[in-house]
């Protein structure tokens, strides 16, 4: 059971309180009705599924109920960081050399 830092509760809480909500930073188009087939497929079906660093969404569903974003290594399952929904994708990851 993972331990996840909720950026709203400002502490690490057990995974049982959370629900994973898939890949992060896939914005829904403000003109979704006019989107091409290609773009809609990318938006709704295509996923990065990286082996390594993933940007993903979680919801602290049985806690503060907020959605937020996390950066995690999918090989070790270690969290690099978490941040609030709506905040931009971090340009630099803590601990990353580059």
């Amino acid at each position: 059971m993972l331990l996840i830092r909720c950026p709203y509760c400002e502490e690490e809480r057990p995974e049982l309180e959370f629900r994973n909500a898939g890949e992060a930073h896939i914005a829904r188009s403000t003109n979704i009705a006019g989107e091409s087939d290609d773009d809609f497929e990318k938006f709704f079906f295509i996923r990065s599924n990286p082996k390594g660093v993933i940007y993903e969404r979680w919801r602290h569903i049985h806690g503060c109920a907020r959605f937020f974003n996390a950066v995690r290594d999918t090989v070790t399952d270690k969290f690099v960081m978490t941040y609030k929904a709506g905040e931009p994708k971090p340009a630099k990851l803590p601990g990353a050399s580059k």
Binding site: M1, Y8, C9, E10, E11, R13, P14, L16, E17, H62, G63, C64, A65, R66
Partner: protein, 192 residues
Amino acid sequence: MAKAAAKTKVVEASVERRPALAGRALSAPGVKVEMLPPAERISLRAPQASLAALSKALGLTLPTKPKTSAAKGGRTALWLGPDEWLVIDEAGNDPLADCAKVSALHSAVGISHRNVAISVTGPAAAVTVNSGCPQDLSLGAFPVGTASRTILGKAEIVLLRSAEDTFRVECWRSFSDYVFTLLSEAASDAAN
């Protein structure tokens, strides 16, 4: 008060209120689990800018620090999220009516009947709750006054530590049988 009462015809409920599991209690060595009486409750949602007005109307300062609560005059406000509070009134006053007077942006929804409360009291109270709650309930991590929505086994609860050896466990009405039964079973194991 008397004047107001004379003016407005108060419609008395002609039917009885039947709270879930009313009166149920279990004692085990080191811990007692019992249903608490009904209380008035609202789910309050509001942005930062509305907090002063709402606090004033409710008669207590809505806490803004995660996992904390504020209590005054039989009324407790539990921080559940950055824009969410559970307000519990055990003194018979109606927080919904208090919020209705506030024009600042907010959502107040009555949930007095949605939730029920179970008290877990005694030296083994924390161990009892930890039978199904994965949070650290030591006094260091979860001091008196701490409030948190969390998990108990397969049910969601709101947990409030009201004293060193007392927890208030709030759950939805239909989960009360499950939550009470789990706490009872755990209570019997807690002192061993």
